[in-house]
């Protein structure tokens, strides 16, 4: 059972666990840590409606429900799939030369009913990880907004989960994953800079290019139907991200505190930076800019929150907002339609974090890494490891996403036909309307 905990600690395997009082030997429960992991699981779940609100507010009225469905349906589909085979594919022992994992005990979670892993019932860890698997495909829905079949999207996320998320998660977070074991202390990816945001971002770009732009883009303004809801959603995402990042330490201790602090600081710094950029460019700053900055700050710190210190977190948050801002401006010029900027924010921001974090690592971490390997481990060494992880993530995501797109298009259909796109997802695909205000009182 130790495996799992080591596995999930991914980004911070060298940190002083003994410091924690009451961390139980295998087989007995640490109620405090368990409590935090339970609530972290709930917090990550909160991000799903948060994301649905964030994205849902940005599309046009006729697509608001359809867009929210893209997040919610992942709870249904991946939620079931995770239990059936997902946990096994990701955190089972390496098979096929480490391409993926498998452990028949994990099939339908049959073998973990009594398992306790370093003081935490393994069910909790499995559920916590399951939430990550649920939210990741939903992120990609930002790129394909307002123009795909619901059935096509459903098939897409199934395939994406099986053929991109599962291997990648195994590589980076399973204790026998090759990226987990790269270099002195593995690739550093606390809560999914690679596994979640870069993979989703790269796939988003591929999907956006594959599908082509929404009809009318970029000629017609496609104004958000409800920025107010987008702000609410951003608020829930920020709150949920505490579970996301600080929960990923699988502790309730010092590392957890550090991860939570860096998350908070980077988000604030990202938000502030974006406001400053906008007020320089437009002499105005926007609500959407503010929340985009929050997101930029959150995604950049996701891989790094376990290893950097506050000054690093502030710097990363600021750099991420700058990078994402210019990525969005560039999108406008390049003309592809990553509708809600999954690539421009998740891909760019979190990718930046993965690559820059070696320059901000806590000294003690580097010292431990050096000790572990028996010789000096430098920033550049770690950078190489990070770049390896990045390369592998990009290659896997890009190639397999393209294949999946083709498969989905050729089978159930992916890109919506014109008439339905014009009528909107809500009516065409779901037979509903988001807001019935106008005539609802008759």
């Amino acid at each position: 059972m130790r495996k799992t905990i080591k596995v999930i600690l991914g980004g911070i395997p060298l940190i002083f666990l003994p410091q924690i009082v009451g961390a139980a030997e295998s087989g007995s429960v640490d109620t405090g840590t368990t409590s935090w992991m339970l609530i972290s699981t709930a917090l990550v779940l909160l991000m799903v409606p948060g994301l649905a609100m964030f994205y849902g507010g940005l599309v046009r009225t006729k697509n608001v429900l359809g867009t929210m469905m893209h997040s919610f349906v992942s709870m249904a589909i991946i939620g079931v799939l995770w239990v059936v085979c997902g946990y096994s594919l990701t955190f089972g022992e390496s098979i096929w030369g480490g391409l993926i994992g498998w452990n028949s005990d994990y099939f339908f979670l049959q073998g973990i009913d009594d398992a306790i892993s370093d003081g935490v019932p393994e069910y909790v860890l499995a559920m916590f990880q399951g939430k990550f698997a649920i939210i990741t495909p939903a992120l990609i829905s930002g790129a394909l907004a307002e123009r795909v079949y619901f059935r096509g999207y459903s098939l897409f996320i199934i395939l994406w989960f099986l053929f991109i998320y599962s291997p990648l998660c195994h590589w980076v977070w399973a204790s026998d994953g090759w990226l987990f074991n790269a270099g002195a202390a593995g690739v550093i990816d606390l809560a999914g800079g690679l596994v979640i945001h870069v993979s989703a971002g790269i796939s988003a770009l591929v999907v956006a290019l594959f599908l082509g732009p929404r009809r009318g883009y970029p000629k017609s303004a496609m104004s958000p139907n409800n920025l107010v809801m987008t702000m609410m959603g951003a608020g829930l995402l920020w709150v949920g991200w505490f579970g996301f990042n600080a929960g990923s330490t699988v502790q309730s201790g010092l590392d957890t505190a550090r991860a939570l602090t860096m998350t908070q600081v980077s988000a604030a710094s990202g938000a502030l930076t974006w406001l400053i950029i906008e007020s320089i460019m437009f002499r105005k700053s926007t609500a959407l800019g503010l929340v985009s900055g929050i997101l930029a700050g959150l995604v950049v710190i996701t891989p790094a929150a376990g290893v950097v210190k506050p000054v690093g977190a502030i710097t990363l948050g600021a750099l991420s907002s700058i990078a994402c801002y210019y990525a969005l401006v560039a999108k406008g010029k390049l003309g592809y339609d990553d509708s809600l900027d999954c690539f421009g924010i998740h891909g760019i921001g979190s990718g930046l974090g993965v690559v820059l974090l070696p320059f901000f690592i806590r000294e003690s971490w580097m010292a431990d890494a050096s000790a572990a390997i028996g010789k000096a481990w430098t920033t550049w060494d770690q950078l190489l490891v990070q770049l390896t992880g990045m390369g592998a993530t990009i290659a896997l995501s890009a190639i397999v996403s393209l294949i999946i797109c083709v498969v989905v298009e050729k089978t159930v259909g992916f890109r919506l036909d014109e008439e339905q796109e014009v009528a909107g997802l809500d009516y065409s695909l779901h037979g509903e309307r988001g807001y019935g205000m106008l005539t609802s009182d008759h």
Binding site: A221, T286, L288, G289, S292, V329, D341
Partner: protein, 112 residues
């Protein structure tokens, strides 16, 4: 009878309503519309891009009145809705052939 349709700036509605009340107009119907005209549209910002939204929120007032009152009503609106800025709006006068009050079935002047 005539129908006056006035397209005005939304925040002027209260003033116009009062001006009309003063000259004894007791009934009207308003709706929310969007206007396109000389007044330049809003510039909105969306993630690093600035774009123009052509249609500007306006309020439309519809008043059906006796033909003789037209000038008085038009004047009241002109004075109360004017801000001397582009986009203050328009007043249209249309002929109306009949007016009926639903509750009583009264017709013509009595129905207003």
């Amino acid at each position: 009878m005539k129908k006056i349709e006035a397209i005005i700036k939304p925040f002027k509605l209260d003033d116009v309503k009062e001006a009309l009340n003063e000259i004894g107009i007791k009934g009207m119907t308003i709706s929310e519309v969007k206007g396109y005209g000389r007044q330049k549209g809003h510039k909105e910002i969306y993630r690093g891009a600035e774009y123009v939204v052509d249609f500007i929120p306006k309020t439309k007032i519809e008043i059906v009145i006796d033909s003789e009152s037209v000038d008085e009503v038009v004047d009241a609106i002109l004075q109360s809705a004017n801000t001397n800025k582009i986009g203050d709006g328009k007043i249209f006068v249309l002929p109306v052939e009949e007016v009926i009050r639903v509750r009583t079935g009264e017709k013509g002047k009595d129905a207003i």
